[in-house]
């Protein structure tokens, strides 16, 4: 397949008087892992919402595999393989962990039989490492495990593009290593990934390219090492102390 799997052309989104995203153009190539960083309120989640139809772009175009999907509805995005996790986790509160993931298999992947969906759900739960909690109510999981659940649910939808919105928050530095392996394995399956994180360890380890969003605009993009040295990025996002920490050692 030639051409980028996702392309944004001058995408902008406003909410009433607030311009959350202004004139963002970017490409995601197939199989890439791209990191997206930026201060809170920069528009990262809004951008993902534009791509998945939750808050359609007020101007500009979103292309998925060459098709114009700017006006698609969220469920259409989900079914065509544009999947995302949520910063604020949204499980189905009265369902078990297994049922939550089965929902992804049933509707994202369009499996028609419940039993098949449950089997698929078990597989994905095993992959992310929480299959032992399958029959537990989803609302009883710890924060970090709820994020795992989000991940399993998205994988159950058989995504072509996966947008991970702070899926590692809540893990300590050592636990993150396990998460990194997981994401690498997902990438190895050919899924194109956008990782939104504040955990620079994740960003630096995984990203082939980094995009930096600030006040709704792309202020930098490119090679990770270059981007974290960019003074604009240091000022807007990293802070001097942190920038030193990243460049100083690899144990961010």
């Amino acid at each position: 397949m030639s051409g980028p799997v996702i392309e944004l052309q001058s995408v902008a989104r406003r909410f009433g008087g607030i311009q959350a995203v202004r004139d963002v153009s970017l490409k995601l190539e197939e199989g890439e892992v791209v990191g997206m960083i930026g201060p809170n309120g920069a528009g990262k989640t809004t951008l993902v919402n534009c791509i998945t139809g939750v808050h359609p772009a007020t101007s500009g175009k979103v292309l998925f595999e060459g098709r114009d999907v700017t006006r698609q509805r969220p469920f259409e995005a989900a079914r065509s393989g544009l999947c995302r996790t949520f910063q604020v986790v949204q499980p189905f509160p009265e369902m078990t962990v297994l049922q939550n993931v089965a929902a992804g298999a049933l509707f994202g992947q369009k499996i028609s039989r419940l039993s098949q969906a449950y089997d698929a759900a078990h597989e994905h739960l095993e992959f992310v490492g929480i299959d032992q909690f399958a029959d537990m109510p989803a609302s009883n999981l710890t924060l970090a495990n709820r994020k795992r659940l989000e991940l399993a649910k998205s994988l159950a939808m058989k995504p072509r593009v996966l947008m991970l919105d702070e899926v590692n928050a809540g893990l300590n530095s050592a636990e993150i290593n396990g998460a990194l392996d997981l994401i690498k394995k997902i990438s190895d399956q050919g899924i194109s990934i956008i990782v939104i994180e504040h955990l620079m360890k994740v960003i630096m380890t995984l990203s082939q390219r980094i995009l930096v969003l600030h006040h709704g605009e792309l202020i930098a993009q490119g090679d990770p090492r270059q981007v974290v040295n960019d003074p604009k990025v240091v000022e807007a996002y990293l802070g001097e102390k942190f920038a030193k920490r990243i460049m100083g050692n690899d144990h961010v």
Binding site: I37, G38, P39, N40, G41, A42, Q87, V88, N140, T142, L143, A144, N145, E166, A169, G170, L171, N172, S173, A174, E175, I176, N177, H198, L199, M200, K201, A236, Y237, L238, G239, K241, F242, R245, H251
Partner: protein, 238 residues
């Protein structure tokens, strides 16, 4: 010399049939900044909730400022001077930033003091002053975190407990927040933080408690613990 402000001994608690804390012993001195670190599921959040009265204490003792507050309901704990900033912020939806902050001061009756603290909090977090009329839950994650911490401060606590300080926050913001906490501490508030970024936690806090499987595995001055090879491997990922 520092007096113990919070003394916990043999604390056990959990959720229904599941015990999470298996005998916690902690002493936090007045004027300190202490941090709780540990694996996912170790019991740090449960510990905070047990202290603040959200979770039921099954046994043990919690002594705050000389008073036994073991098992006290949440409003009494707040009244005694402990403010808990929970994991996930839990701001009040539909209410403005200002209203959320004012609710933090709900139990106070010194109007001028409350006004003073509101100004103080706006100085610490200028974005909150800018957005004071906005629905608090429509702000970005980091801004909400600031609002939640500010809300905690509004009760003018002697002890401020923050669960997951840096969760979802940009690195430079974490830096700023840490500086704000140092300032708050300097003004007299004792602070306990749960923080997954152990490096940030150790820079901020003087004292650290390592929580694993519901018990305190290790504790000590952060300057010493950061040289401990076991800590370095398990938590600093080195």
């Amino acid at each position: 010399m520092s007096e113990p402000l919070l003394e916990i001994s043999g604390l056990t608690s959990g959720y229904g049939d599941v015990q999470v804390l298996w005998g916690i012993d902690i002493v936090v001195n007045a004027g300190e900044i202490a941090c709780l670190v540990g694996s996912n599921g170790a019991g740090k959040t449960t510990l905070m909730r047990t202290i603040s009265g959200i979770c039921e204490t099954t046994s043990g003792k919690v002594i705050f400022d000389g008073n036994d507050i073991t098992g006290a309901p949440a409003n009494k704990v707040l009244g005694a001077g402990i403010a808990h900033v929970p994991e996930g912020r839990r701001l009040f939806r539909g209410l403005s930033v200002r209203d959320n902050l004012m609710l933090g001061a709900y139990m106070r009756d010194d109007k001028s003091g409350v006004k003073e603290d509101l100004e103080r909090v706006f100085d610490l977090f200028p974005i909150l002053r800018e957005r004071h009329n906005q629905d608090a839950t429509t702000m970005s994650g980091g801004q909400q975190q600031m609002c939640a911490i500010a809300r905690g401060i509004m009760s003018r606590p002697r002890l401020l407990m923050i669960d997951e300080l840096s969760l979802g926050l940009a690195p430079n913001l974490v830096e700023d927040l840490a500086e704000s906490l140092v300032e708050i501490n300097r003004q007299g508030t004792t602070i306990i933080v749960v923080e997954q970024d152990v490096m940030t936690a150790f820079e901020l806090a003087e004292h650290a408690f390592v929580v694993e499987t519901g018990k305190i595995m290790k504790s000590g001055r952060t300057s010493e613990l950061s040289d401990d090879p076991i800590i370095r491997e398990a938590y600093l990922g080195m």
